[in-house]
Amino acid sequence: MTPQLQAALKNAARTATVLFVFATIGTALLAFTHDRTEPTIARGQLAAKRALLGQVLPAALYDNDLLTAEQSVPPDDLLGTRQPSSLWLARRQGQFSGAALEAVAPDGYGGDINLLIGIDAAGRITGVRVTAHHETPGLGDYIERAKSAWIDQFSGRSLTNPEPKDWRVAKDGGAFDARAGATITPRAVVKAVKSALDYFARHRAAFAAAPPSVKEKKA
């Protein structure tokens, strides 16, 4: 072995060792932090989900723990979903009292608008929230509850209030207002909420008959 090769090998072994030591320390640091923070983060995410569900389903409506009553439903045109979505069944004293469901308005100005819709057993909307969207900032984003109260006009509505033909924005002769300059966004939301009500009406009997799953708990 020539001295040069020997030196090169020694150098390679040294750099490899240093890199290995740094990688090990970095990994250990990450593993330790992950281990310490994971339970707190998971708790925070559950609390956030519960709070979001609480915004669309009034607390007086149910006494089960909604998070344990979550079920997955297959994609459905009425929900606008292309992937399985979640649905939470609300019960009071064991009786079906409403549901929160995920729906998608696929025809927003910027693509999909993700919605969470709460509906009581009588088919009345208890609340709607936009959970994700790509609408134009400052123009179409008033559908967010944080930006304006526009989304509140759905509360109390049902398939008969207003009549199905009036489930449109005011500009199209319907019952829901929309701000000038951004009609595509509210049009998509109104259509998606109406479809979700249709979905609920179609499956209501099955929801009411479904027994609580074994993992479901009281709140």
Binding site: R14, V18, L19, F22, G26, L29, R36, G44, G138
Partner: protein, 225 residues
Amino acid sequence: MMTMSEFRSLFHNGLIKQNTGLVQLLGLCPLLAISNNVVNALSLGLATTMVMAASSGAVSSVRNFVPNEIRIPVFVLIIAALVTVIDLSMNAFVHPLYLVLGIFIPLITTNCIVLARADAFAAKNHPLHSVVDAVAMGLGLTLVLIVLGAIRELAGKGTLLSGIDLVFGEAAKGWVLHVLPNYRGFLLAILPPGAFLALGMLIAANNWNKARVARRVRHAVPAAA
């Protein structure tokens, strides 16, 4: 230890002479994306400063153990590990702040200014100097972000500090300044093209000012020419 003049020159370098946003033009991706209002801009600027100070300090402390050939992978490893640790810890322990800054923290990893300062400065200097340099660079970036955010928010929505309630709670809702009442809005300023236009104008103004100062210096000292 550090003398006052060293300290001052590091800050002059970070804030003006080598300003990351206006002179080095590093880390433009987050700069352009987040500067659509003052509150976002300030939040990203401070988060970046924090990460830079931590990573420069760490890189500088281990600089004598890292062979030159593998310094870049080691620095990237340190920065990525630090950013992740900060991201996870903020998510767990200061959740309200995380909800505001959370989306910006992973963005910081993509900010080449952090690696640039680690390699160009922290790898060759004492940890104390490196941390001061990182803070100065970070504050220089924050300053540009705030100016850009203010221009875009004012032109786009006619307000300043909108969204501050997301950082300081409901009570801060009243702090929003409606500078131009009944303003109809100018969407272009808020969208990405507005970021390029506003940053271009800021760089032009900075270059014009530099040229003016240079001319004045030449006139003032004719003998030196």
